[in-house]
């Protein structure tokens, strides 16, 4: 009887998760057209408790997507437009001389835009490594330290960063340590022909689309707990481990392409991210456990930015997608008959 009740609770939680997910997505899709995979990816990262890096040429709606998401969720949202002259204090906050009620002046901490729930880090690769590194503590430890003061960031905290891969002049590529802290890297592509009409109708018309919030920060935190409760079967976990190890040159699961072209593979954080994102996908698809399909689908956005392709690979124009595809082809699925 207890187990039946427990299963019913789990089914109810999963149903609640799917409802909120669908509501948020519907609101975002009021403005976003033809970017279903990207919207799913961003919401997966948000609900899995990670951060997401959106990469694409200008004009594809990266910033718009994040703004729509922040409108659909009633949370504290801030936007940082990164520039080369931006300093860590500009995003974390700093001590400023302020006048108090008695007319006297004292130093007070002025919070930076990083202290919010949803942070849009626009064109993050335009900031210097010093400023980019200021994000590291916030992204991993969920806290900001300025001088001797440490501020705990409120949950949910999610950094949604965008970067433009085309304009490389005056940019600073993100360091590996920071790239590893992004749960997903989503590459935003051009919309299809049939999507152009709705995009133009919604953006150049007289009417302005207003997105009403459908949930709040507390609900997002509850959904994150549901995600953590999803179990991972042994075969799925084994497969995720082998896929992550397959990206590491010299490992027993690494294909020839990895050994030739990859200088640095994914860390165990890649396996954590892979399974967390797979849990969200399992719930969204109405399942109560992670499957091999979830891992295979999410392997590319989770692992692509954790690979460092060496000089030979760059000269042979090998992409991270090629490497991940080679790994997925090489690692045997646990349910397949051994050859």
């Amino acid at each position: 009887m207890t187990s039946t009740t427990g299963a019913a609770e789990a089914r109810e939680a999963a149903a609640r998760f799917r409802t909120v997910y669908a509501d948020i997505k519907r609101r975002v899709n009021q403005m976003m057209v033809g970017q279903d995979e990207i919207v799913d990816g961003v919401m997966t990262a948000l609900l899995a408790g990670g951060h997401v890096l959106l990469e694409g040429v200008p004009g594809l709606g990266k910033t718009m997507l994040v703004r729509c998401l922040s409108s659909a969720i009633e949370t504290k949202f801030s936007r940082i437009q990164f520039t080369p002259d931006m300093m860590p204090a500009d995003i974390q906050g700093t001590w400023v001389l302020m006048e108090n009620d008695q007319g006297r002046h004292d130093l007070r901490f002025q919070e930076g835009p990083l202290i919010a729930n949803l942070v849009l880090a626009d064109e993050i690769n335009r900031a210097t490594p010093k400023t980019q590194s200021a994000l590291l503590e916030a992204m991993q430890e969920r806290q900001v330290t300025v001088g001797k003061r440490t501020i705990k960031l409120s949950e949910p905290f999610c950094v949604l960063a965008t970067q433009n891969p085309v304009e490389q002049e005056g940019t600073y590529p993100l360091p590996e340590a920071q790239l590893d802290r992004f749960l997903l890297k989503l590459v935003v592509g051009y919309p299809k022909e049939e999507d152009y009409g709705p995009i133009l109708d919604r953006t150049i018309g007289d009417s302005e689309v207003t997105i009403e919030p459908v949930t709040n920060a507390a609900e997002i935190v509850r959904l994150r707990h549901i995600v953590r409760a999803v179990p991972v079967p042994a075969h799925a976990q084994q497969y995720a481990i082998q896929v992550v190890m397959g990206t590491q040159p010299g490992s027993p699961y690494a294909p020839k392409k990895v050994n030739e072209y990859v200088a640095l593979g994914s860390s165990p954080r890649g396996a954590q991210s892979l399974l967390l994102a797979a849990k969200v996908r399992a719930l969204v698809n109405g399942r109560f456990a992670v499957s091999i399909d979830d891992i295979k689908t999410l392997a590319l956005p989770v692992l692509r930015h954790r690979l460092l392709i060496n000089f030979h690979g760059q000269s042979d124009r090998v992409t991270d997608a090629d490497i991940v595809a080679a790994v997925l082809a090489a690692v045997r699925e646990p349910l397949e008959v051994a050859s």
Binding site: T4, G6, A10, R11, A13, A229, H235, N285, S291, V337
Partner: protein, 505 residues
């Protein structure tokens, strides 16, 4: 909770069904792959049997005379043995686990691992709500799988690689070749005499060793005239060579009118020519197995004359090739006396070489220490003539000499044309010059104290001139506002700004 045993039972049943089906498929797949790889093993038996065949022939025994069918059957034993061994090994190591069997249903029904997951959670005990929900979720899929038959999986094609075809062809060729060798050897073995042997066995096509072995296969005829090897050697030593020259090496050199180096070169090339053509003295040496048998008396005499003539011809060719423009003065006696003349020269040369080697080693060490390659005059060669052939410098002009360092003869020094180099002369000095011998030595030395007188500080004088204009930093807008607000507030309260000490004073 009540349906868990039922689900477990259904999953067990599904696993057994899948194991049976997948087992059949895996056996068929392994068999095809093994057969495909086994054709290479066709080579094993033919290679071994051919080796045995040749070994028997070389050992002087009779060849293998098995029928072709036996050879073919033995060849097929390789692939068959390989297939049996490999299939046994694969059957031993083939693992069709429960997960794989249930996974086959998952893959076929596209149920996203629900069966495998439920089986795992049932086996481990559903400890939390989501595991229980996953088991419940899989119930429908398990029922669906119970009504489903696993599809036959595709088997690999019977594609035989080019390597396998090549192996089969090579095996066939080896069988045919080994049998042919056996037939030929058998024919030779049964042949009546040596003449038949030489005509039957085609020595141009058989390997030399096999041919030599074949010659030994025939029955040995009686040899009454053949002397003992020791006696023959003594007789050879006592009997002088018909062309032996009584002249000494010194007289040879004087007669040739050539330098020492030239004499060495000509005598060496002449000896090579003699070795290739076969001189009478070579025939007398008892170390050639193929020429041990004394030929028939008439044939022997004719062969000796023919070889003598060939030897002379070869010496003439060799000497003419050595001296270039037909200035050969060497004769057959010279070439016969070459070993005697060579001995002292080589001994002397070896002594010199010993000294030279020491000198060369010293120079090499110096080059290593100095890092610069020095010219090595020891490696110099005599200059070449217009025909680019090494030739000792002589004043004697050849028949085609034109007086301008044409073919042969030293260049005449007459007029302006004589100043132009007519003979392309290569550089005699190789390498780069270096500044000379240098030696670096390091010596340990102890530091010495050097006394230094103490410096006295000068007194600093007082400032006499003003500092000049000091620019005040510009205040930022918020600073200006701050200052403005401060003074306004101060004014509103009726106070006065604090004055600096100097102003107050």
């Amino acid at each position: 909770m009540a349906q868990e045993p039922l689900l477990q039972q259904q999953l067990n049943h599904l696993a057994v069904r899948a194991q049976r089906s997948l087992g059949r498929w895996a056996f068929a797949r392994d068999f095809r792959l093994t057969v495909r790889d086994s054709l290479v093993w066709l080579l094993v038996a033919p290679v071994l049997l051919s080796g045995v065949q040749v070994a028997l022939l070389l050992a002087g025994r009779g060849p293998l005379t098995w029928p072709t069918l036996a050879w073919v059957l033995l060849s097929l034993a390789g692939p068959v043995g390989f297939v049996v061994a490999r299939m046994a090994s694969l059957a031993k190591h083939r693992q069709l686990g429960r997960r794989t069997c249930l996974g086959a249903f998952d893959l076929q029904l596209n149920s996203h691992d629900r069966l495998v997951t439920a089986d795992e959670f049932l086996a481990g005990g559903a400890s939390d709500h989501f595991r229980q929900a996953a088991i419940d979720d899989a119930a429908d899929h398990i029922a669906r799988a119970s009504e489903t038959t696993l599809d036959e999986k595709a088997l690999p094609a019977w594609a035989i690689s080019q390597r396998s075809w090549a192996a089969a062809v090579v095996a066939l060729a080896l069988i045919v070749g080994a049998q042919w060798i056996g037939h030929v050897a058998l024919g030779i073995r049964n042949a009546p005499d040596a003449a038949t042997v030489l005509t039957t066995a085609n020595l141009q096509t058989l390997p030399a060793r096999v041919a030599a072995s074949l010659l030994d296969l025939r029955p040995n005829p009686p040899r009454p005239d053949r002397p003992a090897p020791d006696e023959a050697a003594q007789a050879n030593a006592a009997q002088p060579s018909p062309d032996a020259s009584p002249r000494t090496p010194r007289t040879d050199q004087e007669a040739d009118g050539q330098s020492h180096a030239g004499g060495q070169a000509s005598s060496r090339s002449a000896s090579q020519a003699m070795a290739s053509s076969g001189t009478p003295s070579n025939q007398q040496t008892p170390s050639q197995p193929l020429e041990e048998d004394p030929p028939q008396p008439q044939d022997a005499a004719a062969a000796a004359q023919a070889k003598k003539a060939e030897g002379k011809k070869g010496q003439q060719q060799a000497s003419s090739a050595t001296s270039g423009q037909g200035q050969s003065k060497s004769s057959s006696s010279d070439s016969n006396s070459i070993p005697a003349t060579d001995q002292p020269d080589r001994a002397g040369a070896n002594k010199d070489d010993g000294k030279d080697e020491e000198g060369i080693q010293d120079e090499q060490e110096e080059e290593k220490t100095s890092g610069v390659e020095r010219p090595s005059l020891r490696r110099n060669k005599p200059p070449v003539d217009r025909n680019l052939s090494n030739r000792p410098a002589t004043d004697q002009a050849g028949p085609n000499a034109n007086g301008r360092s044409g073919p042969g003869g030293r260049k005449k020094t007459r007029g302006v044309p004589a100043m132009i180099l007519g003979v392309p002369t290569p550089d005699r000095i190789q390498g780069m010059t270096n500044p000379g011998r240098s030696k670096v030595t390091q010596e340990n030395s102890t530091p010495k104290e050097e006394p230094q007188s103490a410096l006295t500080a000068e007194e600093r004088a007082a400032r006499e001139n003003p500092f000049g204009y000091i620019e005040h930093p510009l205040l930022r807008p918020w600073m200006q506002n701050l200052v403005e607000k401060y003074f306004l507030q101060l004014r509103e309260k009726g106070g006065t700004p604090p004055l600096r000490k100097e102003t107050r004073q």
